[in-house]
Symmetry: C2
Subunit: 232 residues, 2 copies
């Protein structure tokens, strides 16, 4: 098989470092022992036609192997899991349930967490951001409570570590500075177990080492405006 090529950014703001979605793809590739190449994009070039031909929404990651080009981190991780051993159980029912947890991570647990990111970063200097935050947090807390209840004191969500755990840990890590996961010690320990895996450490190191580029023109002015908004 030819060596897959993924895309990643050569620069992101500090709050996004270690959280860009190529991380989950790198992690999956590391778990299955597959080496890969990275094509780095400078900020702005992800919206150019050349990249949009591979990623219609102008984002990362993409995954290319031979003639196959995929986008969406969930779809890429599932493709890797289905074509290599190690990230899905062998029995069909167990596989279906591991995939179920991938969708649960991305479509049930993540959306309120994305909303938190919007409120805490993108809309931070908007007048509605602080008044709205308790409602945003309450929606996350409901999901985390449900998830903690299901996980209970198990090591992983359904048997052995799977692509479902990989995606769920990836989603929960987005809350790293909020204290919301830490309110559930069993969930915090679950995230710690995931991020202690050697494959995760290699993936994170690789993403961090890839940030060798420069911010786009105008970023410094945007950052200053954000800081003023926060101080106001």
């Amino acid at each position: 098989m030819t060596r897959p090529v993924i895309t990643a950014y050569d620069w992101v703001p500090d709050f996004a470092k270690g959280l860009v979605r190529d991380l989950q793809v790198r992690w999956a590739l590391e778990e299955v022992g597959r080496s890969y190449d990275v094509r780095y994009l400078s900020q702005g070039s992800q919206k150019a036609p050349a990249h949009r031909a591979q990623q219609p929404f102008g984002q990362v990651p993409t995954y290319q192997q031979g003639d196959l080009v995929l986008f969406e981190s969930g779809a890429i991780v599932l493709h890797i899991a289905r074509t290599h051993a190690g990230l899905l159980p062998d029995d069909p029912s167990g596989r279906a349930r591991a995939i179920e947890w991938m969708f649960a991570a991305l479509n049930t647990v993540e959306p309120p967490i994305t909303d938190y990111g919007v409120a805490a970063v993108l809309e931070r200097d908007q007048p509605w951001s602080q008044p709205r935050m308790p409602a945003v947090v309450a929606r996350i807390e409901e999901r985390l409570g449900d998830l903690a209840a299901r996980l209970a004191d198990a090591e992983w969500l359904d048997g052995s570590f799977s692509a479902g755990d990989l995606m769920m840990v990836g989603v929960l890590r987005q809350l790293r500075d909020s204290g919301l996961v830490e309110a559930h010690p069993t969930l915090a320990a679950y995230v710690d177990r995931g991020t202690a895996r050697p494959a995760f450490r290699r993936a994170l190191d690789a993403q961090m080492q890839g940030f060798t580029g420069s911010p786009p023109p105008g970023f410094a002015a945007w950052l200053e405006k954000q800081a003023q908004g926060a101080a106001a």
Copy 2:
């Protein structure tokens, strides 16, 4: 094979009728010609332990067939698509790309649309709801513009109708009263093509006919409060 059993609500508020997520599962089952049974839940019982044993987040739908129990509409539709002919291409690359569009629907296009639903319904009477709406709408418009550019004048997203189109049409239908999809005539036509499919019509009719129950205690008071907020 035993006949699958799904769960659905026996009552929802008018704004949710025709949009509850068992619809996509019914649609997939209709597309592949599979008959099914429905276990209806009254409002409130979805949060009881008996249902949470099948659905940890206390929602619908679930899917049970023999010993296999699944939740998450995306995972259920994918399971149906993978175990029956008609919703995924035969070639592995085409299958991977159809699954990519399922994830794109649920993790890239839907989250800002969910946010719109929160702003327009759940937080409708909150002081921040109207000031925030332009930012919410702008995030949806960016996604719809990207999607329309990729679809161009094609009939479906990637070759023949697939589970990816089924999920994408299901997500776009949530914007039915907003006018946002209609701003892109090719996208509106795409949704119309999807909802004109006989399997979709049967699924929608079945969901609507299932609403034979009563609102939970307190709903009338909540509705009145919402109406007052809208009039204020």
